[in-house]
Amino acid sequence: MKIDYNYIIDFLSKKISSHSNTPLASLSSDVSMENIGLSSLDVVIISGEIEDEFDVEIEPSVIFESKTINDVAHKLLKLINE
């Protein structure tokens, strides 16, 4: 399985859509995380799902301090490639 930027965006979008009950089609990777409607519990659960999917350990701040899905994907890709 090749993990690249697009794969990560696809994974994150599906998870965020599922947790926030937002239609996948309406989620843009540059939309502000604040406006998606995720609760703090949603964010921690998604963080765990990211760790399981990509076999990395992430800091809570990776998601909490990211402004957009794009931001998260970039940080994650960097972490995976380290």
Binding site: S40, L41, V44, I45, E57
Partner: protein, 559 residues
């Protein structure tokens, strides 16, 4: 390398300190509660100034000390919505977090004052990693599965590690507030006990008197869901409903304790159901050795059910699996960092890592007691102490023992213990009522030579730190009722001539007189107080309770 590595448990509860030398040996480890004589020592610094000064034989003003903490950072105070997924009210939530913040931020200030100089930059380590390293250091094998279960780490209440050739790698962790530790604390409160005082023991003991009730079990199971071997909280609305529904089963403090027996049994059954789910999930790692750590590893009732139901050949729980033990884990991690190694050093497994009562003040203190204490007899019984104490115990005496170094962890393992003859049908009631001042139903633990376990118990497994409660063979209730719990089990402590020579001798001497190599062991304290730390603490218990005598090293003090 530094001269020594000082690990400080910085959770805000159960503070402790541990010292590791330049070779990676743990030279001291002790919970702060022992020194300050305050149960769980909430809010007290792990580098308490007097506790530090009591270590003057190990560290002084010139020692180059490397301090480490047991968290990566001070926890961010929870957001306004955080408690909505917790079983606890926001006031408790904030209280816990602020305690952690203070302990973390203040760590080392007393070391700086003690040494009169700035401290080295502090090392910070992942909370669950500290639990795992502490446990792996003491484990009698180099590889296996290590599961950490507690109230909360950096991101959740569960971490799963693989230990391979003494190197740890985390292979999974849970995120979020689905917490087994919080659940058990909440259950403790529902049963009318106080989780702040660590009264989870009382729930475990009480469970044997009840039966799981289907309605309660169904309700309690809804507080946490297990998916792919990890705990998740219920949705906010459901959790709120659950909390309200559970109130109808609640026992208020002061009400008849047995009112909560079915609730305790139901709660313990639900805890067992969840941990079973995790162990089943972990079978895919195909390990023959299992290590459990974190505060939940103190659930000896559950631990004792694992071996005969799962594939593990060896199961190990360290003497201090809860947050006090993290001081040791963090000191070792600090040493490993400076040594540029990933390999965890190994130990001989001794839990006797605390303060030594046999110090240069002992003789003077005993002379003082002899002169002014008003006791009927004070005798140095020398190398006959095991045989003389065995004889007195066989005659029904209840004796407090304070010898050598204190145990690291919550259990008295013979060096700070009250011992008695388990054959007496009345001994439980006598000790609970006259000595400990605690509830009549509370059980007592047996000490058994490790090569005799299979003579008395259905399952044969080592249990050097009382970590496993296992079923006795059929007729033991009649032979040694003092250490058989209501459900026919005993929280076993195994010893041998290496682990505690004097205690092993005592069992053999007791067997010569009674044909029973088993003694009743309970912690040397009264209810609500930590285990005795000083000779004065021990004397206070002797004169204020129905204890018959105290053995200090080989000096017997009788009323």
């Amino acid at each position: 390398m530094k001269d020594c590595y000082l690990g400080l448990s910085t959770s805000g509860h159960d503070p402790a300190l541990a010292l590791v030398d330049q070779s990676g040996n743990v030279i001291f480890a002790e919970a702060t509660e022992r020194h300050v004589q305050l149960k769980r020592a909430w809010g007290i610094s792990p580098d308490h100034p007097d506790h530090l000064r009591s270590l003057s034989n190990l560290i002084d003003r010139k020692t180059n000390i490397q301090i480490s903490r047991t968290w990566m950072a001070a926890k961010s105070l929870p957001g306004k919505d955080a408690h909505e997924n917790s079983l606890f009210p926001p006031t408790d939530f904030n209280w816990l977090y602020k305690h952690q913040n203070r302990a973390f931020d203040d760590a080392g200030i007393h070391v700086a004052q003690f040494q009169g100089k700035d401290i080295n930059k502090i090392n910070d380590f992942d909370h669950h990693l500290c639990h795992a390293v502490n446990a792996s250091y003491n484990a009698p094998f180099d590889s296996g599965l290590c599961i950490v279960i507690d109230g909360e780490g950096e991101v959740g209440s569960l971490s799963i590690f693989l230990l391979k050739n003494r190197e740890l790698k985390r292979i999974g962790r849970a995120w979020g507030p689905g917490s087994f530790g919080s659940y058990y604390s909440w259950l403790t409160q529902l049963c009318g006990f106080d989780w702040r005082l660590g009264e989870e023991w009382k729930v475990m003991g009480l469970a044997a008197f009840g039966r799981p009730n289907e309605e309660m079990v169904t309700l309690l199971k809804k507080t946490i869901q297990i998916k792919s071997g990890k705990p998740y909280p219920s949705s906010q609305l459901t959790l709120h409903e659950l909390t309200l529904a559970a109130k109808k089963f609640m026992r208020l403090p002061g009400e008849d304790i047995m009112k909560a027996a079915d609730l305790a049994a139901s709660g313990q059954a639900v805890y067992a159901f969840w941990i079973d789910e995790i162990l089943k999930y972990c079978q895919k790692y195909e390990q023959e050795n299992l290590i459990l750590s974190g505060g939940c590893a103190l659930n000896s009732s559950y631990n004792g059910t694992i071996k005969h139901r799962f594939q593990y050949k060896n199961i190990f729980v360290p003497s201090a699996p809860a947050d006090d033990g993290n001081a040791l884990g963090s000191a070792l991690l600090s040493w490993m960092k400076d040594s540029q190694t990933q390999k965890i050093p190994s130990s001989n497994g001794t839990p006797y890592l605390g303060t030594n009562i046999n110090n240069n003040k002992l003789e003077k203190k005993i002379s003082h007691i002899a002169k002014y204490g008003g006791f009927s007899r004070i005798t140095d019984i020398g190398n006959k102490s095991a045989s003389m104490v065995a004889k007195m115990l066989s005659e029904g005496k209840i004796i407090g023992v304070i010898r050598g170094r204190a145990e690291f962890g919550p259990r008295a393992l013979g060096n700070r213990s009250i011992l008695a003859d388990p054959r007496s049908p009345q001994i439980k009631e006598i000790i609970n009522e006259r000595v400990k001042g605690r509830e009549a139903y509370r059980p007592f633990a047996p000490i058994v030579p490790d090569n005799r376990v299979s003579d008395y118990f259905l399952n044969d497994q080592p249990s050097p730190y009382m970590s496993f409660t296992i079923p006795w063979k059929g007729k033991m209730l009649n032979q040694i009722p003092g250490v058989v719990h209501k459900d026919g089990t005993g929280r076993l402590q195994t010893v041998n001539s290496s682990s505690n020579p004097w205690l092993n001798d005592l069992l053999l001497e007791f067997e010569k007189i009674t044909n029973t190599p088993i003694l009743l062991n309970t912690s040397f304290n009264v209810m609500g107080k930590p285990i005795v730390h000083s000779i004065e603490d021990a004397m206070a218990v002797l004169v204020t309770t129905g204890l018959d005598a105290v053995l200090i090293e080989n000096v017997l003090i009788e009323k």
